[in-house]
């Protein structure tokens, strides 16, 4: 085992393809995805030992790192341990949304959402998919508010996130900034230098949000993401209105790659990186973060690079981004130590690189808190699962034989309040600071996902879980062509042995944590379905009762 691992590590290092931070290319579509170098486990402080995982611990890792645990991965992690699995995931070729969209048999205006479902459920590069999804909730664009018709562009934006999920954050920031989709969403596209006669000043939208939401946040942070306080206990602002105005002037002069003129061009390219128009770019001197001065007379691209470097190198970025990634993947209330340890890897990994997302993600998953947080804090560790992940988890666990070509769940947001690339605003579906009133709030904890969990959505999620299990499985002979029929073949084989079946469902859906009380309820319900040929009914009743339970709603 050890020899194998050392050989693998050596081979992986040999295969390393580096991508220097700061590389900027204007043609996004030709970039190859970087294969992440295999990194030693001990890169993060307080790492858990890299041993083969017990099934319940494998389940936990898979809930953190995929769109839902499947049996074969639970088994594989029992053989090899987390590091091998993570390395393999990082080296699996990326599944791009635009490829899926191109291959779709029909392409109504929001087919990209169905492509997203297919990939979330079936793609091999699960970790990359999960990370890109997390990034889409930090570096937010949305089809809401005008971009609903631009599915090619939106898809391409998501591919930018996928492409950089194991790359460098600085590169990600660059490509996001010059994405025409982002340009339209936050009005950077077509932003022009000031024209005092017409009372025109550069729009501040992107300048504000890139600082507030995409990089450093509003207040100065310690390396554990806690705010630095002044002597009155008030957090120190990370920037002020003047800073925003200066950045707004940096972000001027950019438009569609093929625009024939700057003001209201007819040609619209929502895919290629935006291009600069120097005559609309503010050429004055500027003062950026930490009083960094930028000389007058610089061109748009050069100035953009300086500005993005300025943002990227702000000490806040490590803790600000690390904490949110931890919250998206592992737990809503990480300890300060966890955040600090991960931020330190972001700040500088073993190769001396700042902003390596591969290193950061690996640190998040290999840290002892990801592995043992549930032991340290049994009643508070973890997070509420998002609605989309409640569904992908079921569809992955009961691996459908195929997803019908007519499958359509593009309207999921109207049911569950969430759909990829469709948040109501640039603040995502929920804010990192949301705290559910009651015990969670009383204990000073946050629970971001609860912000979209209310009396309406909880019923709709429950209904959708019922429809997707009890009404839609492969032993039902009248399922519609548009639904995913879960495959309960294996469960039907186990069904005659009730205990074996429930042990199996326990592992597959609850990581082996099923309480005796829940088991008793399942048994009782299954017993009530005791007529001939009811085996499949019993199976899906059990699946639904588990999947809709408060325990299944919790990732821990």
């Amino acid at each position: 085992m050890n020899l194998f691992r050392s050989v693998l590590i050596m081979t992986s290092i040999w295969l390393t393809v580096g991508c220097a931070p700061g590389d900027s290319t204007s043609d996004l579509s030709n970039q190859e995805p970087a294969f992440a170098p295999a990194l030693p486990t001990t890169e993060v402080a307080h790492a858990a030992p890299d041993n083969p995982l017990l099934q319940k611990d494998a389940f936990r890792l898979l809930e953190q790192a995929t769109f839902g645990p499947v049996l074969k991965d639970i088994v594989a992690l029992g053989v090899s341990g987390p590091e091998f699995w993570i390395n393999k995931q990082m080296q699996t070729p990326a599944t791009f949304l635009s490829d899926g969209l191109a291959a779709a048999s029909s392409q109504p205006w929001n087919e990209y959402i169905n492509v997203w479902w297919r990939h979330a459920i079936t793609a091999e590069d699960q970790l990359r998919q999960r990370v890109a999804f997390a990034l889409s909730q930090i570096l937010v664009v949305s089809a809401d508010d005008g971009l609903g018709d631009e599915q090619m562009g939106l898809t391409n934006y998501y591919d930018i996130l996928l492409r950089h999920s194991f790359g460098n954050f600085r590169d990600l920031l660059h490509d996001v900034t010059l994405s025409p989709i982002m340009g339209e969403y936050l009005s950077l596209k077509g932003n022009q230098k000031s024209d005092p006669e017409k009372n025109i000043q550069p729009d501040e939208n992107y300048a504000r949000e890139v600082l507030q939401l995409f990089s450093i946040g509003q207040v100065i942070l310690n390396d554990d993401a806690s705010p630095v306080l002044d002597q009155d206990g008030v957090p120190l602002p990370a920037y002020n209105q003047t800073t925003i105005e200066n950045f707004a002037r940096v972000f001027t002069g950019w438009h569609f790659a093929n625009a024939e003129h700057f003001v209201w061009p007819e040609n619209k390219d929502y895919i290629s990186a935006m291009q600069p128009w120097e005559q609309y770019h503010d050429q004055g001197p500027k003062t950026l973060l930490n009083n960094v001065e930028v000389a007058a007379g610089l061109g748009a691209q050069d100035e953009l690079n300086i500005a993005l470097d300025n943002i990227f190198n702000h000490p806040n970025v490590g803790p600000f981004i690390s904490k949110q990634l931890i919250q998206r993947l592992v737990t809503s209330n990480p300890t300060k130590e966890y955040v600090r340890d991960v931020a330190q890897v972001f700040n500088k990994n073993h190769a001396g690189e700042r902003g390596s997302l591969a290193s950061t993600i690996k640190a998040i998953l290999m840290h002892r808190e990801a592995r043992f947080g549930h032991i340290d804090s049994p009643d508070t560790f973890g997070k509420l699962k998002e609605p989309l992940i409640r569904m992908t988890q079921i569809w992955r666990a009961f691996e459908p034989l195929s997803i019908p070509s007519a499958f359509n769940y593009s309207w999921v947001e109207s049911e569950m309040g969430q759909a990829p690339l469709n948040s109501p605003s640039v603040f995502n579906f929920f804010r990192p600071t949301f705290s559910q009133p009651g015990e969670i709030r009383d204990r000073g904890l946050v629970s971001p996902e609860f912000q979209i969990m209310d009396e309406t959505s909880i019923i709709k999620i429950t209904n959708r879980l019922l429809a997707s299990t009890i009404w839609s499985h492969n032993f039902k002979h009248d399922s519609e062509g548009k639904r995913i029929a879960i495959d309960i073949t294996k469960e039907m084989e186990l069904e005659p042995d009730r205990k074996a079946l429930l042990d199996h469902l326990d592992l597959l859906l609850l990581g082996g944590e099923m309480s005796p009380e829940l088991r008793r309820e399942i048994n009782q319900l299954m017993d009530s379905r005791d007529y001939p040929l009811a085996a499949s009914q019993r199976v899906v009743e059990a699946i639904f009762l588990i999947a809709s339970s408060p325990e299944a709603a919790l990732q821990r």
Partner: protein, 454 residues
Amino acid sequence: MNTFSRRRFLKTGSQTIAGAGLALSGNPLKALAYGDDTTQALGDSYRALVCIYLEGGCDGFSLMVPTGSYENLAFAESRGELAVGYDQIISLNGGASPIGIHSSAAALQPLYDEGRLAMIANIGTLIEPTTVEQYQNNAVALPAQLFSHSDQATQWQQLQGRGTATTGWGAKAVDYLESYHDKDYLTSISLAGSNYWQTGATRRPFSMTETGATSYQGMDRYENWQQPRAEAFQRVVDLPRRHVISKAYADLQKRAMSVTTELGLALEGNAAMFDDAPAENPLAEKLNMVAQIIAAKDTLGLKRQIFYVTMGGFDVHDNQSKDQPLLFAQLADAMSYFQRKMDDLGQSENVTTFTASDFGRSLLSNGDGTDHGWGNHLMAMGGAVNGGQIYGTLPSLDINGADSVHRGRVLPTLSATQYAATLLEWIGLQENQINEVLPTLRNFDIKNLDFLIV
């Protein structure tokens, strides 16, 4: 009592009113006294606030536009291509008002002229009274993160001062409003999911959609086949558990189950009467549902309610001249529709609708849109509104004028806190309660803007 309109009663029965312990003039915050016929009727009556939150920063200056040539010119010069010309303004009060309404919002004109719509001018988030000079010298406490959507929206909805707040002023008010009836739920209803206004330490609004209370599928315990499943589901939800998240989820599920049934039954009879919302107007659909709930208030046993609905799209950084008229039209048509339904229900005097938004928009443009501003014009609507008037002070809309601080943001002359206090007094909070809900109210001399007849 119920056959009188409140306003007529107040105008004609001043002796009786004085005898009943109410003040018509003098301290507007004199608390209601309980115990005789008049106040008994008030105690039996229903009152509701409906907040229409306009997301993104509604450009009130383009909705309620100066008609005077000097003021209109100043606005036109500031806004350039985004100016609202005379051909786009509908005059109010037969032309007597210095403000006209954007022609897309024509539906609001009759309401204004008949006195049931009021304009509240140049209002924004303020911690304490602030002059331009004080702003520029940082000489007073200012709201944190002005011009940031999330912060200003949060502050508008919380109004708890400068620090990080954890509770909305709606949620705090509900603590007192619940004493009017026997229920500890459905006082606070949202048709826009969770929001800061109605969320407090232990409080969340009941959330529903414009199509009504969502019901569970396949879990009807009165249906033979579904019964074992429904009962198993309930028992699983009721199991004891320790983890804070699964507990909170179970609590929410329990609440959803019990309230949904009750609400569904209460709303059942109403459908026909509410089949008339204007087409393709999402705001009207939401207000339609609010109207349905109000129609069912007696069945539900509710005396005081606060409702929250939203309308998005107001953050017009670009395409302002194209998008904004459509927004104004939708808003005006929906508000007008809602007032009609309140008239139909005989609840016009009992329901006050008010608008709120992150901020107004900047006087300067960025070419085809405007940026985040500060001071804004808002509206209050209802039978209890002393309408057909402008409350507050109209600001100069000259970008180089006395009220503009910096890139065309207009310094507000009224604070959101005073606005909230006016609404809360009307719905029935007492003076000390209002002070508790709105801790910065003490910074302002005027505690009630007088646009509502209490």
